[in-house]
């Protein structure tokens, strides 16, 4: 019986990951195309990036997106961590099924439904749509993802660590600060990053919840994409991918630094 990686498996991996990554690679590649035509390679150029710098509307939306992502991911992390604690630590409380249901449903719920319902809420309450309504929408979606990530960590959390801390004289608060928090921090960070990128990338919910003056970057990109394939869009996309990649690598590096160096 043969085990391990056979040529067949290698081919499947190459094809599968090729399928996932070739489109992204092409997109990045053609952002450096000197030609305006997609299919014709006209030589290397950073022309389109320079053009972006002059596009003030685009930069303004990028700034809106960043602020929304920052605020909503922080809120989502706080709320999501609380929700995860409630789910894992509070045993069976009344309404738990509804609570868990409301947390898991947005993970798969079509975005048009979430977007529409939020918009109707804001209109019904007479709230002007803008920065904060987008934040509210993104926080709601983000907190569910944070909950799932933190919950997974809490579920495998060895409670005897907290008991040991209390046994050694730490108050409940000191125990939380010295033991619980440092151990779930990586999961909270991962959840926060997830919420951040979800917010940065979201187009549908933002379209429903944004108002005048709060056009997000994906909304701007969408408008451009509808007009056709242009190297500018490639350039923005590449920058966005690069930005998220940079954050992820940074987070991974921080996590690695926090861990012990090898074993000696």
């Amino acid at each position: 019986m043969k085990r391990g990686l056979q040529p067949f498996h290698l081919a499947v991996l190459a094809l599968g990951f090729g399928f996932l990554y070739v489109p992204i690679a092409l997109l990045v590649l053609y952002s450096f195309n000197a030609s305006r035509l997609v299919t014709v390679w006209g030589g290397f150029s950073t022309h389109w990036y320079e053009a972006l710098l002059g596009n003030e509307a685009l930069l303004a939306s990028a700034f809106v997106s960043l602020r929304v992502a920052l605020v909503s991911s922080v809120l989502a992390t706080i709320l999501g961590t609380m929700a995860a604690f409630a789910l894992v630590r509070f045993g069976r409380f009344s309404g738990r099924t509804l609570f868990a249901g409301a947390l898991y449903a947005p993970l798969v719920m079509p975005e048009v439904i979430i977007g529409l319902s939020l918009l109707l809420l804001f209109v019904g309450l007479g709230i002007d749509r803008g920065f904060w309504t987008i934040v509210a929408g993104h926080t709601t979606l983000g907190l569910c993802f944070v909950t799932v990530v933190v919950q997974a960590r809490l579920a495998t959390f060895d409670r005897s660590l907290e008991e040991a801390a209390m046994d050694l004289g730490a108050t409940p608060l000191a125990t939380f600060r010295a033991v619980t928090l440092p151990l779930i921090a990586p999961a909270m960070l991962a959840g926060c990053l997830l919420a951040f990128t979800l917010s940065l990338d979201d187009f549908v919910i933002a379209s429903f919840t944004s108002g005048p003056g709060s056009t997000t970057l994906p909304m701007r990109i969408y408008a451009q994409v509808r007009l056709g394939v242009t190297p500018e869009v490639n350039a923005i996309s590449t920058l966005l991918i690069g930005f998220v990649g940079f954050i992820l690598l940074g987070a991974a590096a921080i996590n690695r630094l926090r861990k012990p160096q090898g074993s000696g």
């Binding site: 060895d158 005897s160 660590l161 008991e163 040991a164 801390a165 209390m166 046994d167 050694l168 004289g169 730490a170 108050t171 409940p172 000191a174 125990t175 010295a178 033991v179 440092p182 151990l183 926090r258 012990p260 074993s263 000696g264």
Partner: protein, 361 residues
């Protein structure tokens, strides 16, 4: 144990989880400077009892007194009791030294004093120079020693140890037993070990309590418990034994004669005074049974046939099917000149009445 006030007194403590009763009006005294073992199968309530002493659970009823102070409702971080967890519960994000010093930091002691006391503890558990390691860089035995050091550094009046040897391999377990005994002697702390392993309790403890279904069945020195078990459960749990079910037919000085269901008439020592006809079980340890040639006619015994014979750790072990149908286990040291019997041999199995116990419960 003398008539001094006990260090720890547990008074009629009960605890249940929903339908399940973990402890039933349990009382227990533990003296200062004592090495005490709580022994029992899983689910007998020994872990619950330990968690109640540590303050990690609250009893439904009863009191817990430490040095005559009622600590029943004191939260764990205010109790002068420390615990060594079965999983060791070493903080994975802290170095060995930080782990050991954690309890002292909570007391807001000066840094210098913390450093000295941590260094002392590292010495006590022979871990000098390993203070900067992380728990995941240690071997199982080293982790166990860090856990011990961390629990002892606060100089608790009482140290609870939850299955302290369970995670170690056989050989290391043996060595560690002696290290724990030495640590107890050197620090003068009372140790309460929770274990399901009767060997551990027998080796280490001054006194032990055998628990079953939420109550203590017997308290005594390991030798008392082994030689004079009070119940079928204790006899079966502590050491190996052979049981014969039967009824009391005669009284003898210090004992009774029992007619077993399989038709044997056995004499056995008995502490209680059961009425004639009472159902009892006779317990005889394998090392108290003797094998002899079938011709030998002795009272208190029965003929039978060897079904198995193994040799282990300097002892010969036989399984014998008695003619009445009972299967008994006989163990004897191998010494020069001892007769040996192979599978299929006819033998006579006998014992001295004072080595057997007739148990009412």
């Amino acid at each position: 144990m003398d008539a001094q006030k006990p260090l720890l007194r547990i008074e009629r403590v009960s605890k249940s989880y929903g339908e399940v009763t973990a402890l039933r009006e349990l009382s227990l005294d533990i003296a200062a400077n004592e090495f005490f073992a709580l022994l029992g199968p899983s689910g007998c309530g020994k872990t619950t009892l330990m968690r109640l002493i540590a303050g990690l659970e609250k009893p439904d009823a009863g009191r817990i007194l430490l040095d005559s102070v009622d600590i029943t409702h004191l939260p764990p971080h205010l109790r002068p009791v420390n615990m060594m967890f079965q999983s060791y519960a070493l903080f994975p994000h802290m170095s060995v030294a930080k782990n050991i010093g954690f309890g002292l930091v909570q007391e807001n002691l000066p840094r210098k004093e913390i450093a000295t006391r941590v260094a002392d503890m590292l010495g006590l558990v022979q871990m000098e120079g390993l203070g900067e390691r992380r728990p995941d860089q240690l071997s199982g035995g080293q982790r166990q020693r860090v856990a011990l050091a961390r629990a002892l550094v606060k100089r608790p009046k009482l140290l609870l140890l939850d299955e302290p040897l369970a995670a170690l391999d056989r050989k290391l377990r043996h060595e560690t037993q002696f290290q724990l005994m030495a640590a107890q002697r050197d620090t003068g702390t009372s140790f309460v070990v929770v274990t399901h392993d009767q060997d551990e309790a027998m080796v280490m403890a001054h006194r032990m309590a055998v628990m079953h279904a939420g109550v203590i069945e017997q308290i005594g020195t390991p030798r008392q418990v082994y030689e004079e078990p009070v119940s079928r459960h204790v006899a079966g749990f502590v050491g190996e034994t052979n049981f014969f079910d039967g009824r009391v037919t005669h009284f003898m000085p210090g004992g009774v004669e029992v007619q077993t269901h399989s038709g044997l008439a056995l004499e056995a020592g008995c502490r209680e005074h059961p009425a004639l006809g009472t159902r009892v079980v006779v317990s005889i340890r394998p090392e108290n049974l003797r094998l002899g040639p079938p011709s030998q006619l002795v009272t208190n015994g029965a003929p039978g046939e060897i079904t198995d014979h193994v040799f282990r750790e300097g002892m010969s072990s036989w399984r014998v099917r008695l003619d009445g149908g009972d299967i008994v286990h006989v163990r004897q040291p191998i010494a020069a000149g001892t007769a040996t019997y192979d599978r299929g041999a006819r033998v006579f199995v006998a014992f001295a009445p004072e080595c057997a116990r007739a148990l009412v419960r």
